[in-house]
């Protein structure tokens, strides 16, 4: 049994572990001591086991995540990314034919001035005709709508009076309510009975 002071220090043991892991031979004094001292051998074994387990666990964990399939996918991804490296930037040339055609068109556009004059004249005539047509349309419908609306709106209440049929009156009312300008009255309409409802009651 050797004295504790003669035991290998932890740091020395760790050096031994690193040396052995590196595939090198332990220095003779340390190797001799480890061969003789049971306590140091046990400490060394515990240290080695701790470090190796730690390493094995870590490697196993990483290898479980990076499966062969994943590594293959990674290889492909790297190959794809590397594919674009080292290649000079590609300059896309503008198609020659299109350039010529475009130039030709622009030349023919600028050449005859009468085309521009004719286009301006056509635009003027078009605008003038459109304006006059709109003016006529505004005048004509105003007169016709006025007469027709008055008759249709007033007729149900005042002209037909008591002789008018209830169903016809209500249907007229519904038609009137469907017009866009009476939308705000639809709330009131909801409170009044509909023709359909009255018929159903009958």
């Amino acid at each position: 049994m050797k004295h504790r002071a003669h035991h290998l220090h932890d740091e020395r043991l760790f050096d031994c572990y690193l040396t052995e892991r590196g595939g090198d031979v332990l220095d003779p004094p340390a190797a001799e001591h480890l061969a003789d001292c049971g306590e140091c051998t046990a400490r060394y074994a515990a240290l080695s086991e701790f470090m190796e387990t730690l390493r094995r666990d870590g490697e196993a964990e990483a290898d479980a995540v990076f499966t062969p399939d994943r590594l293959r996918a990674q290889q492909h991804a790297i190959a794809r990314r590397v594919e674009h490296l080292g290649r000079p930037a590609r300059v896309i040339s503008f198609p020659h034919r299109i350039v010529q055609r475009t130039l030709g068109v622009s030349q023919s556009r600028t050449a005859p001035r009468w085309v521009a004059a004719a286009a301006a004249a056509g635009l003027f005539v078009g605008v003038a005709l459109g304006a006059s047509y709109e003016w006529n349309m505004r005048r004509a419908p105003a007169a016709s709508f006025g007469t027709r609306d008055v008759s249709s709106r007033i007729a149900p209440a005042a002209v037909r009076g008591a002789n008018a049929d209830d169903a016809a009156f209500l249907s007229d009312l519904e038609l009137a309510l469907e017009r866009p300008h009476t939308r705000e009255l639809q709330a009131f309409d909801a409170l009044t009975p509909h023709v359909r409802e009255i018929r159903d009651q009958r």
């Binding site: 701790f50 870590g58 479980a64 995540v65 590594l71 190959a79 990314r81 080292g86």
Partner: protein, 227 residues
């Protein structure tokens, strides 16, 4: 996230032949160019000649060589599958874009890991900023992925215990000092030797060893000696 330790920028000229460690398995000093470094030199040559298609093809091989390790590191840093995935993609794309800056004196693994970790740290910072302002109400993709991964195990109790253990370990690693965490991550999950970590971080190798030891001691204390 304060005091986050950042590896040297990728174009630091301090990396010379001294840092020429070997990638792939256990690495040695002053070893001939590793497979990945040789491939990187070849890709650089193809890019310089303008043979981009061939360079891309060869780059696919380089990606396949480092992809799993890079994903492990990024996942341990970010604890989110999608974020880690994007960080790895960004790192590879950055490598291809700046392959003309690669020097064979630098082991490719060291160069690439620096780029990856700097990207991860930027993402961590962005995530912490986002978490400060937004409350996460949904289960994160990392949790989902872990749940899926744990789904392989039939025993619900085992599943639950494993999840709890992983959460405890992640929380403990998160409590490490920024420099300790970076060194620990690189060494433990990135499978780097202290010398490689020294080349990546610009720290003295003995300092790296001290940080590693302190990180391990703190983790053992936080986890009660058992992970």
């Amino acid at each position: 996230m304060s005091g986050e330790f950042r590896p040297l920028p990728v174009d630091t000229p301090e990396l010379g032949d001294d840092a020429a460690v070997h990638a792939g398995g256990r690495r040695r000093l002053h070893a001939p160019l590793s497979d990945d470094s040789r491939l990187a030199v070849e890709i650089r040559g193809l890019v310089e000649q303008g043979a981009m298609d061939e360079a891309r093809e060869r780059f696919g091989e380089l990606v396949a060589l480092h992809q799993r390790r890079a994903s492990r590191i990024a996942y341990q840093y970010l604890r989110d599958a999608s974020e880690a995935d994007e960080a790895v993609q960004d790192a590879f794309v950055k490598v291809f874009a700046h392959i003309d800056g690669y020097r064979e004196a630098w082991p490719f693994e060291v160069w690439f890991t620096r780029i990856l970790i700097n990207g991860c740290l930027d993402r961590r910072k962005a995530l912490s900023r986002r978490d400060r302002w937004f409350v996460d109400t949904e289960v994160s993709t990392a949790d989902e992925a872990r749940a899926v991964a744990a789904g392989a195990s039939a025993d619900p109790e085992h599943r639950l215990l494993a999840r709890e253990r992983r959460a405890r370990v992640a929380a403990a690693i998160d409590r490490l000092d920024g420099r300790q965490r970076t060194v620990f991550m690189l060494c433990h999950y990135g499978d780097c030797t202290p010398r490689e970590v020294s080349a990546m971080t610009g720290l003295n190798e003995s300092t790296v060893r001290v940080h590693l030891f302190r990180a391990a001691r703190k983790l053992r204390g936080l986890l009660g000696g058992k992970p």
